[in-house]
Symmetry: C2
Subunit: 668 residues, 2 copies
């Protein structure tokens, strides 16, 4: 237990030096309750579902893919019957009417088999979400009740073999014929066939197809159409060609496939017309005049998928860490020459350094994700949130998805290696986690592209007039302003005021000490300064490139790594802020002390990883940089005895850990 008096004068009420403290004693159920938050009941219900269907984890390994796909379909429908998968739909169609709850359920479901999760995401998030968000009442009436029960299975046909991130360049065409009042859907070439489409290879009877709308030879940009693809016996309809994408690295319970259309006709009413429609006589109407803006407004409605994937990545990281920490707390290796007992893996400094910063970052991302879901719920639950707020939300969703899914890949891989040969066996969980989550970094928006989106929002301050520009438009826009103007327009600039007093130059003697490393004001100032500096550097580089007569493509290519670094720095700052704020709001307790230690470890290990940046810019002295590395090691040692409690607090059902190696005396 710790003394109550250990607070300092910082505005977050955080202790500044804890080296002489006693170790906190974690209250695991209380920490689980804190992590579960507002939707604890939904999470608890989902945990029970997972435990009930735990055998699917073995099915995933034992069944051939064709059989496993059917098993997954069956379980998705079983989940649908419990109401767990329809939480985000309006109650009048059998849904739960609570977007936040639906994301919380999805995140928890990600402790289990991820084919089920992704199939749920495709059916209810992407297909159902497109009908709900892009369609109008007649579409809702026609489809939503059936898709919520799983009676109507559908797919979301956006990506094409040759067109992924650049959705505006899709090749599939939908030509309006006023004579028949139909759209004619066509795949003009192989690079324009729809590809990687979940639910397409076996189960969907309907697709939401994204295609270039053409009326009388004029192009109106990408729009979405409801297109039946299979009859009741499951055969492809006339003009529709369905191919199977076959085996994948993971997620083999999901039937990904390719769709091609050869003059497939659908009635005029099959266009999802919330934002634009075509009259019977072929006039195009939309309340949003600018074509780019209309397109991005449509895409923006699909934000929930990204929030869900990011959350799923964080959940998968929790499962991997639970397995690896528990294993490292049982498995012994080498030892003192005069002792018969070998040391536990987790007592080795390197093993702590490999796992515990990842654990700290998992906690940090958890709280950032919680804040994101809260904002998502608020924005999507009102009829009309301001444009700027929507764009800021899109940016946060994109950034959190990128960081959360990269974190998952890295964490699961490190956990696999930290478990050696045992980690390589599919009878344990890590192999499936690794294979199934791998695509998270590149689907629902490639992570690099998403971080570019974040940076673009920052450079244009989410202003509606520029937010819709693509990357090259952004280059021209920035280049046409004075650098000072760009920097002043950016969100990051507003941070500067908050930094100046807290973060002196790196050569200031006062900062050559270890003092203040554990002060969240200092940590935040470091994160904010980096963000602002990279961002204004991007603006300067873009401008210089254009001034030197390079074309936009060249300029963007050369500045691209800085653009992505700016996006990443921004999102990392948001993550740290979320964690610090969460901790500041807690009442004093041992759990608070432990979370503060995790927050410090997240902040300092993040600074350590990028410490060259601050040194290069005179904001970190050599001595202080080394002190940060020492502090990271010290925090790892202090967190080591808490590690197993900290993974237990995730509340992962025991069946989901399925790690034979944890029960095996071989590990003891």
């Amino acid at each position: 237990m710790i003394q109550d008096s250990l607070t300092t004068g910082t505005s977050y009420g955080r202790v500044c030096s804890m080296s002489e403290l006693e170790q906190p004693d974690i209250d695991v159920p209380a920490l689980t309750a804190l992590l579960d938050g507002k939707y604890a009941d939904i999470r608890e219900m989902t945990r029970k579902n997972l435990s009930e269907y735990a055998h699917v984890l073995d099915d995933a390994i034992e069944m051939p893919s064709a059989e496993f796909r059917e098993r997954v379909l069956e379980l998705v429908k079983a989940m649908a019957r419990t109401g767990a998968t329809g939480l985000g739909f309006p109650p009048e169609y059998g849904g739960g009417g609570d977007i936040g709850a639906s994301v919380a359920g999805f995140e928890t479901m990600a402790f289990g088999d991820l084919s089920i999760l992704v199939k749920v995401g495709v059916q209810f998030g992407l297909f159902g979400g497109a009908i709900l968000q892009l369609g109008s009442k007649n579409h809702h009436d026609a489809y939503i009740a059936d898709l919520v029960t799983g009676d109507l299975m559908g797919c979301f046909a956006m990506t094409e073999t040759g067109h992924g991130s650049n959705v505006q360049a899709l090749g599939t065409e939908a030509v309006y014929e006023p004579e028949t009042r139909e759209f004619v859907i066509t795949t003009p070439d192989r690079r324009s066939r729809k590809d990687y489409i979940g639910n397409a290879a076996a189960h969907a009877s309907m697709a939401v197809v994204f295609a270039q709308l053409r009326i009388g030879g004029r192009s109106e940009g990408v729009h979405a159409f409801v297109v039946p693809i299979r009859d009741e016996e499951g055969h492809a309809l006339e003009g529709v060609t369905i191919e199977d994408d076959g085996e994948k690295i993971g997620l083999n319970g999901v039937d990904n496939g390719r769709l091609s259309f050869d003059h497939v006709r659908v009635p005029r009413s099959n266009m999802l017309n919330r934002y634009a429609e075509v009259t019977e006589d072929g006039r195009y109407l939309s309340e949003i005049e600018n074509v780019d803006r209309r397109f991005f407004t449509m895409l923006g409605t699909l934000i929930q998928g990204r929030v869900c994937v990011g959350g799923a990545g964080i959940s998968a990281s929790k499962v991997a860490l639970a397995v690896a920490v528990k294993y490292a707390n049982k498995r012994r290796q080498f030892g003192a020459p005069d002792s018969d007992v070998e040391e536990l893996l987790l007592d080795y400094g390197m093993h702590q350094r490999r796992l515990l910063p990842l654990l700290a970052k998992t906690y940090a991302l958890h709280f950032a994700q919680e804040m994101l879901v809260h904002e998502l719920h608020n924005v999507l639950s009102t009829t009309e949130a301001p444009d700027r707020q929507r764009r800021a939300l899109e940016s946060r969703a994109a950034g959190t998805k990128a960081l959360g899914t990269w974190h998952a890949s890295r964490t699961i891989q490190e956990c696999r290696e930290a478990c050696g040969g045992a980690g390589y066996l599919m009878s344990n969980r890590l192999g499936a986690l690794r294979a199934d989550t791998d695509v998270f970094t590149t689907f629902e928006g490639d992570n690099h592209i998403l971080l570019q989106l974040v940076a673009k929002g920052l450079l244009t301050d989410y202003s509606s007039s520029f937010g819709d520009l693509d990357q090259l438009g952004m280059v021209r826009f920035v280049a046409n302003l004075a650098v000072e103007t760009v920097v002043e327009r950016t969100s990051a600039h507003k941070l500067l005021e908050r930094i100046r007093d807290v973060l002196p130059g790196g050569n200031d003697d006062k900062w050559d000490q270890e003092a203040g490393l554990l002060d969240p004001e200092y940590q935040l100032a470091m994160f904010r300064w980096r963000e602002e500096h990279i961002l204004s550097g991007v603006a300067r580089r873009l401008k210089r490139g254009m001034d030197n007569g390079m074309d936009t493509v060249q300029v963007f290519s050369q500045v691209q790594d800085h653009v992505i670094a700016a996006g990443r720095a921004h999102v990392e700052r948001l993550v740290l802020e979320a964690f610090v704020e969460k901790n500041a709001a807690m009442v004093d307790s041992d759990n608070k002390v432990a979370l503060n230690m995790l927050c410090d470890l997240f902040a300092l290990s993040t600074i350590e990883a990028d410490r060259a940046f601050w040194m290069e810019h005179g904001r970190l002295s050599s001595a202080r940089s080394k002190a940060i590395s020492r502090e990271v090691s010290s925090l790892c040692r202090r967190l080591r005895p808490l590690a197993e409690d900290l993974v237990d607090a995730f509340g992962i059902p025991a069946e989901m850990l399925k790690a034979e190696m944890l029960d095996d005396p071989g590990a003891a």
Copy 2:
């Protein structure tokens, strides 16, 4: 073409600034010949074998594991009949008598299916290698001719469920009974069952079992015994229990399993007795008196496996890069707003930054591996190489294996992500490469443990009296010397003399320029300085810890990350030296210019990744650090037009790329 006159005064004859040069024009066949080196004919023969059996790449995905295991067995035997797998065995037993050739063949085979590769490694490298290296003539006569043809299949039973890297702590026992003149082999508990043993679950009829030898109640340490495990019908022999490890992340064509022994009796002659034997009446005899030294001498003979695995990792990286570079040179995404043509992925700066430093490192590792194989061949082909030379070779093999296999994991993963959804489909090569190579980082010695081994060798300067100490023994040894003594004893110390004149302090004005960044003397001095500094820091920390009264376990735990960093810095220096020396020996040509660019990119991107270290130690100014990052980007841009030639030069048979996405117009 480039001018001939572009050389400088450095001892390596390298150009120092190439910014104004014309681009070189790569002669692909000549570069392939350079890479293939001495064993070009063996590599060419293996390429033909791979092409002939190319269908196995599809079998790996389409067949259930049980069936695929049989297919792999069949192909391994087919390869054996060509003589390709027996190159390392003496001619009198049907082998090729050329160790270097056998490694070259193995490396080339790693372009193909990796289950075949690993099964070959188990049968001919581990099982066959143990008989050859640890056995004496009667064992050779009895087994080698049959195992070279594949008529006798065997396994290498060292690792146990609870004992991996710490081989000295194995639990399996072999008790000598003078009455019957037999050894009695027993598995005392579940943590001591042999685990992850390749060939054990289905095909091996014989095992080389590593066990604690006990005679009359006295323990003599770990020794190897030939133990029959299956009868001619494939049933487990009496007292032998065989379990199947089941599905793994990859390598599912290899039948990994678990072996337990319940008082299994083998005759006295079944002990592999090159280094020690037991007389009929139960006396223990060995020419090597020190028990640790005897043990490490036995392990040292198994070095060839590590050399092969490291080489295989480098080959797998080549395949992944060939796929990703070719894809990025076909697939387009986004483009100038006023153009209908989108840009090629490889024209994006970030994409270049993701792939080309990995390509440069692959070349660097290739030449380091070539040098390692050369030394391996020399040491193993003589009857008695000096102890110190053997230890230095073991260290180089351990370090190259660690770097080569980590590089493979990272490279393949980056390539997968760089190919987006296409990279996730098993119809392309990346998924299988990723899954199959994943265990390379932790088998044949966990990479972290291997780098510790490297550092231990450096700290004790491979002296035979201390080389056999384990990590904790190393701690005590170092702590008992004055720090200066340790530093002087280290190999790295000898580097210092070569550094002083080349590498001034970071604040020297002369070095605040970009001058000399492309000078290999500068690059080498940087690598050498880092190695020496980390190593002496380790010595200092070990000593301080012990002086402060901490126990060896604590001290080692706290210094472990520095120990591993020291090992890594050492191996990276060896890799750079190998690349620089290779280039220096080339006659002037465009290929030489291209290789120099790759070498610069390897050196500078390695420095960039760890630039914080040199800045913290006053050996790199902020300005110069930023100049290095700019130079890395610039080298990427200059190498971009050469990228496809550079991967073509690897000479990977087209069938092995098997990347549907490369032929698909969807990517064009």
